[in-house]
Amino acid sequence: MTDTVVRAAPPSAAKPVSNSLLRHAQYVISENSVTGMAFGLFLLLALCALIGPYVVPYDPLASGPATLSPPSLSHWFGTDQTGRDIFSRVVVATRLDMIIALSSVALVFVMGGLAGIAAGFFGGWTDRIVGRISDTIMAFPLFVLAMGIVAALGNTVTNIVIATAIINFPLYVRVARAEANVRREAGFVQAARLSGNGEYRILLMHILPNIMPIMMVQISLTMGYAILNAAGLSFIGLGVRPPTPEWGIMVAEGAANIISGEWWIALFPGAALMIAVFCFNLLGDGLRDLVDPQRRT
């Protein structure tokens, strides 16, 4: 059916096509205002992360006299049990959470992506070993494994990043492997062999560029998941240590107070969490539209 539609406008009559990615990106964003909004949110988050600590009204670590006061003009998000300003803490926490998310995603993208495409393309022992590692990780409920790893190694930011990377490893391996596998015997790969390309060269120069778009989508979606993971670990006390401002810890600190009605301590960091994750998920969806329109969900 689509073949008919495409042919109805013969290629010679088509306008000269611009290969501009930017043009296509503009089209997708304008077509889909939700993606545009997500992009705007992303910029806001980046802004908070970069300049937040310099422009907030109060020192996020400084206690104050007004404890447990609801949102007001002087304290936009209210104060917590020791009088610290919640707004400042929420903004400053952006940087930490973003760093955790970015590092763990970058780490797992490199490790998992490369392992996956090697496994998918070469098969044989590479596939078996990577598969075994992946299966062993996946045998655990992932958050539980992250708990175990952070508990074993200690409560530091580095360890949270490592744990998050490890639990996302199987997912990246699976996606990369599937994509490489599909293309392994494709005509253009055979043609590349005929042209004198060695196997490693084919992997990096021919297959990887084709896989990148899908991996980009994965990255965006996993960013959200990484933030949630770090926050979850902090919530049960396995993450960042107080008094460092981090969204998950702040929600934990405010949890007990919710029952007595002091909602602002937990709500604002929770809402920040939600907005950040929401933003990355929408971006991921938008990226998917950009990259592969047939797979629109």
Partner: protein, 337 residues
């Protein structure tokens, strides 16, 4: 059919071995010296060394591993240092609580997400479709502990509809006779309606929290899968043969669309077992998740080990079940293997 199950069991063995090894390694790397903790603040170096010896911590790593595996074979998961009780008993007594919570959350989630996904696919582009997309994206973005807290705030504090989040039963009710360990089921079956109401009302909010958490992946997968199937060749044949909409959607499209959804359930379970831990903390639910978290914070390694191992084994069993269900639905898997 049994041959297929047998084969799958065999492939599971290396995974179990891997899990056992990893759990062993993890807990031997815990910071903090359990011997010091156990000996108490007034301990002398000699008593610490004695305790360490009795715990077997002075042996080499491979020796400890052998002891560990033989203990496992005897069903011995060690003793909790903080409570002194065997880990196995604690876990088995607390398991029904977690299972009840997780299962209720999952069933509720499937009951909502699957019809939503199907509707969204059938009426693609309509308001139902857009609502579905927004709801699922939002659901995936909410941290599960935050959802729990929000629900508590709204339904307990503001509206007063739900009871306080203090566990499975409030102070006045007593536990029903033990049949399955599921309070709601047991109290219903034994005719104890007071307890039934009490346990159900305590269960609603945490189960709802888990439900909201797992709605998104299930609804998304259902929708995507239905969309793919609805545009497939064999659905086109069904339509061209004049089959009515109900038959096309249910008999032809839905059964085929469910295959990837069943596979997704495995992943959803993994998330749920993890989210379980967080929800148990918010609602003070006495399950194995909260048991493990308390032990973790005290560097008490036997419960943590037991917990991770139990969860992993549970998860393996669940995945096996899912594979079997998949084989029942899809004859291609059965007959070609």
């Amino acid at each position: 059919m049994f041959m297929t199950i047998g084969k799958r069991l065999v492939t599971v063995i290396p995974t179990v071995i891997g899990v056992v090894v990893v759990t062993f390694l993890l807990t031997r790397v815990l910071p903090g010296d359990p011997a010091v903790y156990f000996a108490g603040p007034a301990a002398t170096p000699q008593s610490i060394a004695d305790i360490r010896k009795s715990l077997g911590l002075d042996r080499s790593l491979p020796e400890q591993f052998v002891r560990y595996v033989s203990d496992l074979a005897h069903g011995n998961l060690g003793n909790s240092l903080s409570t002194g009780r065997p880990v196995v008993t604690e876990i088995t007594s607390r398991l029904p609580a977690s299972a009840e919570l997780t299962l209720s959350g999952l069933l509720l989630s499937i009951a909502i997400a699957v019809p939503l996904g199907i509707l969204a696919a059938v009426k693609q582009g309509s308001w139902i479709d857009h609502t579905c997309r927004v709801v699922t994206t939002a659901g995936v973005s909410l941290p599960v502990f935050f959802t729990g807290l929000l629900l508590v705030y709204v339904f307990y504090f503001l509206l007063g509809w739900a009871p306080a989040p203090i566990g499975r039963l409030d102070a006045f009710a007593t536990a029903p006779p033990q049949i399955t360990g599921f309070y709601v089921f047991d109290s219903l079956v034994s005719g104890n309606f007071e307890t039934f109401r009490a346990s159900l009302s305590q269960l609603i909010l945490p189960a709802l929290t888990l439900c909201i958490f797992s709605l998104a992946p299930i609804a998304r997968m259902t929708r995507a899968s239905m969309l793919a199937v609805l545009s497939s060749d064999f659905v086109r044949t069904a339509r061209a043969s004049g089959l009515d909409t109900r038959t096309v959607i249910l008999t032809y499209a839905f059964r085929n669309a469910m295959l990837p959804v069943v596979t997704t359930l495995g992943m959803v379970f993994s998330f749920l077992l993890g989210a379980n831990v967080l929800v148990e903390k918010v609602f003070a639910w006495p399950g194995i998740g909260s048991y493990a978290v308390e032990a973790l914070l005290q560097s008490d390694f036997a419960p943590v080990q037991g917990f991770v191992l139990t969860m992993a084994v549970l998860y393996i069993v669940l995945n096996l079940l899912i594979d079997i269900i998949y084989g029942v639905i899809d004859p291609r898997v059965r007959l070609e293997g």
